[in-house]
Symmetry: D2
């Protein structure tokens, strides 16, 4: 039997508390040592609920503890890079939620620290672990459908998040589309040029701080594939998550999952269920799988499946999308940054 | 180019007028010589609508006409056997709507006449010409799925027909289930035993003359396959037509067609269209194809795809179902009649 | 926060070990006190895997322990009734896997003991907890579709179980169809008459001990609804689980779940995934939910959602199906037993 | 009963001969007076096949014939504008295949002639008559889903047309995307700006004359909606025709039609049929309906459902797409032309 990894969670908000529950209940390979949140009361509620013994307020305390082997960072985005740097210097392996940071210099400094300390880093792009998206990748990677021609992603949230969150989120392209930009790299490879358009049709208050709620991004990939991502902050029928890779010899697409399989027939036609409400429902298994794989990579000293460079390039693409939108022109990725 | 077949239609009610329109507009291989109905005014309306020159009241006039090569019989059921006999004696090839007759002796006399005159006879089991049901047959006949184990047919009308029609129709098993009993023979082969159950849940007036509106028939086939047919006179969402042949190495099923492919997503879930309303819509192409094939068989002197024996055995199975229902026990087909 | 229920598991084979893992990992309302198996080594493996401290060989030891409040019985079927009686006398609440027993007298004695001791009893008909089957029930129970007319259930295993198991299982109708007979009661209500037909098309060795692998059961319900269940021991495309309740004003059907949502289009058409392999995958969440609800019913002193009478009537219906098959005639349920 | 319209067909190639067959067999409101093709032998084959008496080589002969009330123009694209002008001057009503012309000045001259002569003109954008696309329009126009946010169209041919045709077709955006650009106007309204990207991944020979085979067009509409069209010249699984209008309160999408409804389940999963092969199959009914509506508009003196301006604007949008592609920047429609 394999050993258990001693891990601590930093940040116990919505995502952090879910990761914590997974570590306690669903990931037997993990030994959750402690949880940490600057809002100690928030962390304490999570600890009480899950029967966790150790709760700390200052993450440096965890980094100083030699029994802690790895940290899962789910603090607010603006603290990610700093904690990564500190954790790397303390020799802890790191699983960090997306995005690594909004500022590319912060990301580069963090990745430098990781490199110097030679610790593992995995970024929380959960969708790479979805069985259907993985299956699409597997089909196209097998070559049976020939060269990919068109990538098509639909990603629509069920409702607009809280405005206070939106204000600091990096906006549509860096908060929401970033998942699709990473998925685009996962499915096809590096992007050469981006053109982004967007508008505010759902939540007028977004205009105050220049954010968008309805966007389309087109992509030219280095390998010649072209692609399109459409995003919306409000799909009233549930969390709309579709993906297609259309190829020379066929196509592979991942349809939406659905809440149940019941169809009701009546004089009004046939009615079926809503989509799963949001990411916590739709990608529940992915959140478990990504952390299990992270632990396996640490324990067996293998490269992580979502690297720091993956985390960085998704942010680069997000910035390219914003630049394209603001200047209303296609933007080369090289205008933002080169691959490290 | 192949020659055209001179054909006349006898009976211009709902089905007959549809066949007539098909012969005029959609079947270039046919030369419609005349139409006939004892209700001359009914036939005249059809003739006016389609620009048909010759309308007669007495079908014997058509049988006496040497230019008429074939007749399509769509008169009322109780006249079918008599017209077949007369037409056969007159040397005309015959396409006859289902059922051949309700009385087996009438059928046998008619089939004897056909045999003696050596004319072609095809019975109007239109569903054998449906592309999806044919495709299921083709798949299972290829042997790729191994031996058929379970046949499952769902056949539900959209609404209860007029009571005056129901009274003389032969009832649920001989009017409605007869299509499924024929389809069972088409898909699997001869039936050995039938058990039928039924009830009146939709139209209480049916009880007056012993008819049913909701039935289930189970079948044991000679080759060991078992099967089930469920029927209803009222599916408010449209004409429900499903078929499955479940086999040792897989299954082949024909789903319902749908009026259009639009899906509407809203807070109530996803809504799609009704099924096609009824047989005139759902099997529109089958009515064309069956007559085209009949004409081809006559012109090229080939056996017809739905024989007199097929028409007879479907009626035998219908009677077996009624006997089973009345005696509430499984009934051997040999209790009703043997194959000719 | 609610208290935890002290529960022990008796029988740690395939189903028992799954329940044990659920109790440890997924049901925080449970405090798993111990596990028990007469094959001590089998239980020990489960205990080691899940970090369980107490393992016993003789279940009487658990019944004598005053800290044990409830037992989950997943021992072999022939031991169910005896353990229920013993547990009831010891004042333990009982969750028992299906079937309660194959012999109706054993069941009646067990239910008598439960009644006298006034403990809770829940039977493990897991499918009642499936979200889609529950949703169908909810739709029809709301009355919006009017009176149910036809119940249609398809239940097909992916492959034939081991013959040594089949030999003692009670056979097709008591081992496999029993789930559907219970579902029939759950969806519609009490059954009045059954007709069952069956054959051996998949595994010839079943003939040695009179079992079947391909069956169709038709049902007449007390309320006038009619129904049909088709069963097979081998659906090579996965565990086929469909249900329809067709009503006067519409229909509600539960389609199969599917392993992933990917569709691959190519020159061969469109290909989608297999069904979930078997019940452990398909009904994984039901196994959790049924036990959570059992615990809630014990802790809050409410009636259990699947009662002893439910467990008994499913066995009665199974025996009626066997009698019908052997005598090839419809059998009244009252020929087997009356409701208690 | 309404009178029949005397109509002649000019151009009897693939599309023209299909229109001719429809006029003869499926459109009783039409009286086909004559057909015309500069390739007299081609027209004669069509005439022989359909039993048409009058065949002419020079369309002026038809325009000089006072019994001809209307012409259906299906000649080669480069002749459309000239024939329209001539027909308008001769006082004939005009149904013209798409595109009106490739040159905007030619179109404007033709439309001027139509206006002066006060004849009816309808352009052959057949997809506007598709029941599913019409249904989407009807749903969104009803307002029940709120304001449209994102239009998404997928249009993919089954295989690359002949290169000699491609050379003179106007290229991807004016030959193929033009249908989608018209559909965009039909579903949402006027377009303000276009960005088009494209590549050659299927047929390298297209590079010789600067054509594309794989393209994505993004659209900003005057009303604020944004949209995307993806096109490919080769979808090996059939003619891929999807449309979605995603709105504030839900979505309406038109799925692909499928050749038959059979699904085959096996160890490889579930397999369903190909899509209809191409436009002649997929839009067969639309070709009938558009001409029936044209005839009705002429006979009842109503505006045609697809106007000259519709034909013109689709070409304007196609030119905007080409300009955007060549200059790799978003292009305002006003850079090409203003609405008339």
């Amino acid at each position: 039997m394999t050993r258990k990894l001693n891990i601590a969670v930093i940040g116990t908000g919505r995502i952090g508390s879910m990761h914590t529950a997974n570590l306690v209940r669903r990931i037997p390979e993990a030994n959750l040592v402690a949880i940490c949140d600057i809002r100690l009361d928030v962390a304490q509620v999570v600890a009480d609920d899950l029967g966790i013994q150790r709760v700390v307020q200052d993450y440096h305390e965890l980094l100083a503890d030699p029994t802690v082997e790895a940290v899962l960072i789910a603090a607010s985005t603006n603290a990610h890079a700093m904690i990564i740097k500190d954790a790397a210097r303390a020799g802890k392996h790191i699983f960090c939620e997306k995005p690594l940071a909004l500022d590319l210099r912060d990301i580069d400094e963090a990745l430098d620290a990781v490199k110097r300390s030679n610790v593992k880093l995995q970024v929380g792009f959960n969708r790479r672990f979805d069985k259907s998206f993985k299956r699409v990748r597997q089909i196209t990677a097998s070559g049976e459908l020939g060269k990919p021609c068109i990538l098509r992603i639909t990603n629509r949230d069920p409702e607009v998040p809280a405005l206070e969150f939106m204000r600091v989120s990096g906006g549509m392209f860096l908060d929401m589309s970033i998942h699709d930009l990473d998925m685009a790299r996962f499915q096809i490879g590096e992007v050469e040029e981006i053109y982004a358009m967007g508008t505010v049709l759902i939540e007028p208050a977004l205009k105050e701080f220049g954010d968008l709620d309805t966007t389309i991004i087109t992509l030219k990939f280095v390998d010649g594939t072209i692609g399109v991502i459409d995003n919306s902050r409000q799909a009233v029928y549930g969390y709309d998550q579709q993906l297609e890779v259309f190829c020379l010899k066929g196509t592979a697409f991942a349809n939406n999952e659905i809440e149940d399989t019941v169809v009701k027939g009546s004089r009004q036609g046939f009615q079926s269920a809503l989509l799963p409400y949001f990411f916590m429902q739709r990608y529940a298994e992915c959140y478990v799988d990504e952390v299990r794989q992270f632990i396996e990579c640490v324990c067996e000293d293998k490269p992580t499946p979502v690297t720091g460079e993956d985390g960085r390039m998704a942010v680069v693409l997000g910035h390219a999308a914003w630049k394209s939108y603001h200047e209303n022109r296609p933007v080369k990725i090289s205008e933002i940054a080169s691959p490290r």
